[in-house]
Amino acid sequence: MTTLIKIIKYQLHDLLRGKWFILYTAVFFLLTDGLFRFGGDPGQVSLSLMNVVLFIIPLVSIVFGTMFFYNSREFMELLLSQPISRVSLFLGLYLGLTLPLSAVYLIGVGVPFMYHAGIMTGSYWILLLVGVSLTWVFTALAFLIAVLSEQRVKGVGMTIVLWLFFAILYDGIILFILFALEDYPLEKLTLILSLFNPIDLGRILMLLQLDIAALMGYTGALFSKFYGDMFGSAVAVLALWTWCATPVLLGYRAFSKKDF
């Protein structure tokens, strides 16, 4: 445990000196602050930020996570030649990246939001929760791909395809299914399918909080009924965190057998 904490500590030390962290914070900060200054109320700002959160965070987390893993290859070799267990190293690298990425998001979005609107709005907390959860999920997927794929170009290519799938293609496939099977009752199927896309789960949690689920018609009403109560929200959050835990576990399994 102490080894794990030490690895995280040095990882943070290294990453937080990089200029890109300042840039990433500045982008979120200026965007959130700007949206408030252009006259948006907290609900409108949350809705605008939602699109950024749902597309940019998964993309940055998955691409940066993969690059980070490949770039740490020799450093991993150095640490694995020391009396250090593979589980400590894997979790140390994972947490050493997700913690600063989450912190950057929380500062970049959380501080201007707090300053302009206070922290008492529900959308504020959901926005932070979804942003942080997606960071953890997509960094976990990035690590899994990077462990499994030896080739850097192939690995980065796969992460972009996976992001495209979850961010764009998945919804297209669902629409196609709904269209093709329009004569059948599909509400439950839609509900189940939404669990298999972390970005959709994030979107649903946010839309329900923003109280605009009615815009989604009957399905929205159904989602509102299921996800809107405590049980439904808990299922959505649990599904999001399963999306994080599964690739971390699979990634560690592959990492423990990996040749360096």
Partner: protein
């Protein structure tokens, strides 16, 4: 003593180590030689637990390796390429490794002075030259006073002065009773340093014995020519 029995390792379809048997004796400098792709680095990585072997056994001082990682506290490893986190300084890397190996005492300060690195210690590692980073690498391998030293192409990238300093250090480590395993493509360097040679050919042991014996067996005047004769 390091005892290797029937070691097998394959990467996909490529069989790199084919039931390799070898013994690496204590208090000797053993060079592992062979052409590119003969399995030298794979053998070293199997010893370190960086590569998982498919069959056979490795024992270090009668301790059989089986997925455990504590035994690595006896080993100092200097890889071929020195890469560290870009934004850390050499001092921070040394502090980090010392911190991770709680309870181990270091003599890093002596080594920093020996390799004349004092002025470079506070600069980010990404700004240092390859040779300077290699010296930091050497310090990391040597600073815990390990019983076994594994050096993969240790003088690659070093200037003649630093290379001589490192070779002198390797000799003094041997005199202090250490077991040293070294790989290099520079045969004159191996002739200068090594007591014993393990010559690998396509994942099998072709020769295991003293350097002089290999030279006399081939009837050549130096190690480079002796190895070249064995390769052809």
């Amino acid at each position: 003593m390091i005892d290797i029995k029937g070691l097998k390792k394959r990467f996909g379809r490529l069989e790199v180590l084919k039931e390799l048997d070898a013994q690496i004796k204590d208090n000797k400098i053993t060079a592992i030689v062979g052409h590119n792709g003969s399995g030298k680095t794979t053998l070293i990585k199997c010893l370190l637990g960086l590569d998982k072997y498919d069959g056979g056994d490795i024992s270090i001082n009668d301790f059989k390796l089986s997925g455990d990682w504590n035994y690595r506290s006896q080993i100092g490893y200097m890889p071929q390429v020195a890469r560290f986190p870009d934004n850390l300084t050499a001092t921070e890397v040394i502090t980090m490794i010392s911190d991770l190996r709680t309870g181990s005492t270091t003599h890093a300060d002596e080594l920093i002075a020996y390799f004349r690195l004092s002025k470079e210690m506070e600069k980010p590692l990404k700004t240092l030259s390859g040779g300077t980073r290699q010296k930091v690498n050497a310090i990391v391998a040597l600073m815990f006073n390990p019983d076994i030293l594994i050096l993969d192409e240790p003088t690659a990238g070093l200037d003649p002065v630093s290379s001589s300093l490192l070779k002198d250090m390797i000799h003094s480590e041997k005199d202090a009773g250490k077991t040293v395993i070294i790989t290099s493509h520079i045969m004159s360097e191996i002739q200068e340093l090594a007591d014993t040679i393990l010559y690998l050919l396509d994942g099998k042991m072709l020769f295991d014995g003293p350097v002089d014996e290999l030279i006399s067996q081939t009837g050549e005047k130096n190690l480079e020519r002796a190895i070249a004769k064995m390769m052809t």
